[in-house]
Amino acid sequence: MLTNREISTPHEYAQTIKPEKHTWRKIKRNYELYLFLLPIIILYLVFRYYPMYGVQIAFKDFSPSRGIWGSEWVGFKYFQQFFDSYNFWNLIENTITLSFLSLVFSFPVPIIVAIMLNQMLAKRYKKFVQSVIYAPHFISTVVLVGMLNVFLSPNSGIVNHIISFFGGKPVLFMADENWFRPLYILSGIWQETGFSTIIYLAALAGVNPELHEAAVMDGANKWKRVWHVDIPAILPTIVILLILALGNIMSIGFEKAFLMQSDLNYATSNIIPTYVYELGIQKSQYSFSTAIGLFNSVINIILIVAVNRIAKKLTETSLW
């Protein structure tokens, strides 16, 4: 670079040479920091980037003996097969409905509970309530679904005991496709509401008390202060969390739906992640299930980017 270019002034010389030399010096001086990063970079290359290379089997007829590279290209055959398959619309509907309804019903609950907790003046009791409602967050999905099974069991479950006590007929909750979504959502609310209040409580703690005082001076009662002071104060937090949630609509978790799934509620509990597992891991249809997974992640990216862009326009808050 130096030889091709004529350097006329010392100033220019300094401009062309120095930054690079300086950069090298910086890198050299901090070489240890790169060693710190080395393990994670290798790990990411192997376990996160190599599978991205492997995703090409969605466009190939993958056979384990021929490997990823050696398998034959088939273009969009598996995507076509997925779009044409009898349960395509059912899968899309199940996935979006479950995810969307979860969001609609679960999202507001922690906001309300956080505002209520924030209004609670008895410190000790408040702490106690918090300790209790945070707890289910630490219960594993297996145990949660196990709890659903024992509580909702038609013969011995406590819920059906209550129903029969009031003269009703036992309901086969876990084996009913119409109950799958309500149970999924309600158990989610039960498990995560408490823990999700933390972030709103933090935002509420940051509200300037002078605002409340001024509102009291103006004759606002508690209810009005909640509406006109607390809620506007936490609105940015609400918007950011809503953006995140909307962007994640297609990335609904596998675990709970899988554990709650049975042949009897399959019509509503069969969602894309469980279907990919069923086809890919259980039936070894590698290319087909990879294509479905890829389809899902592409929609996911589009969603995240779109939601973020809309949010930027509307509210000037965005994720990046």
């Binding site: 920091l33 790990l43 609670m120 297996v142 299930s289």
Partner: protein, 298 residues
């Protein structure tokens, strides 16, 4: 100041009363299922089965726990889970902290690029099957490494730790140390780590809970029952209703079997949650801290 805010109208008193009642009801709704499992696990299964246990244990018995403690698959699951949690946490936390520190340094050349290299995996991933095929090709199926390595050093955790470093370690401190001839490595060991006990505690607890409660990776990557972590053993009992036959050798009739199965289910939930229950005071404190640090940025 305080008097002004504590001045109450009649409406405010009504508001407070409604607030207390509602929150108490919410709290009880969360608490009761957990409490019920506890009392059902030590009650006579016949009474539980017929719905006669509500508020207090009745027909007290340790029978369920006896059967659980005599079952080797649960013990093995327990031991496996502890092993996976310890190894996985050690690897995960070390890698996370080690990666987060350089990324918190403003003078790191290429910081933005490396950050994007990590962040990109949040938006796009190869997905379940390509990852599974890779693990298979690496001959890692049925090994602890399939659980501990692929997920280690998640981006979210790295960002949380990095945010902590950025806000609690002033740049001047490193500058002063480096002028005195301190190397990066020594600075990391003798200054950074001792000042980061809180965030390391957060990470350790995040990982322990994750490994203890996780079952998905084990479901996919382990097919040898001897290597099952506790959650997979639990899945067989709680979700698939398969209680080990040797827990039931002395139970005769089908009806009695079903009752004892229920009893075992309640007990097994308690037994499996015990370690996290013991850790709960720490979990609560440090998980809250983690959420706070995480919310500073994004």
């Amino acid at each position: 100041m305080n008097t002004l805010l504590s001045r109450k109208t009649k409406g405010d008193m009504l508001f407070d009363a409604a607030n207390y009642i509602l929150l108490t009801l919410i709290m009880l709704t969360v608490l009761y299922p957990l409490y019920f499992i506890l009392i059902a696990s030590i009650s006579d299964p016949n009474l539980v089965y017929s719905g006669e246990v509500w508020l207090f244990p009745r027909g007290f018995t340790w029978d369920g726990y006896d059967r659980i403690f005599n079952d080797s698959s649960i013990w093995r699951g327990y031991a496996n889970s502890i092993l996976y949690a310890v190894v996985g946490t050690l690897i995960g936390v070390s890698l996370t902290v080690l990666a987060a520190y350089p990324l918190s340094r403003k003078d790191l050349v290429g910081r933005g690029t490396i950050m994007w290299f990590l962040l990109a995996t949040m938006f796009f991933s190869g997905g379940l099957i390509p990852t599974y095929l890779l693990i298979k090709d690496l001959n890692m199926l049925n090994t602890i490494w399939a659980l501990a390595l692929p997920g280690a050093g998640g981006v979210f955790n790295i960002i949380i730790v990095r945010t902590f470093f950025q806000s609690s370690l002033p740049d001047e401190m490193w500058e002063a140390a480096s002028i005195d001839g301190c190397s990066n490595w020594r600075y990391f060991l003798s200054i950074v780590l001792p000042l980061s006990k809180a965030i390391i505690a957060v990470m350790v607890l995040y990982h322990i809970v994750g490994f203890w409660n996780g079952f998905f990776d084990a479901l996919i990557y382990l097919n040898d029952e001897k290597k099952y972590p506790l959650q997979l053993v639990l899945r067989n009992i709680l979700v698939q209703n398969q209680v080990n036959a040797n827990m039931m050798v002395d139970v005769e009739s089908y009806a009695a079997k079903m009752r004892v199965t229920e009893l075992i289910k309640y007990g097994v939930i308690i037994v499996s949650s015990l370690p996290l229950l013991i850790l709960y005071p720490f979990l609560q404190k440090y998980f809250v801290k983690g959420v706070m640090i995480g919310s500073i940025k994004g």
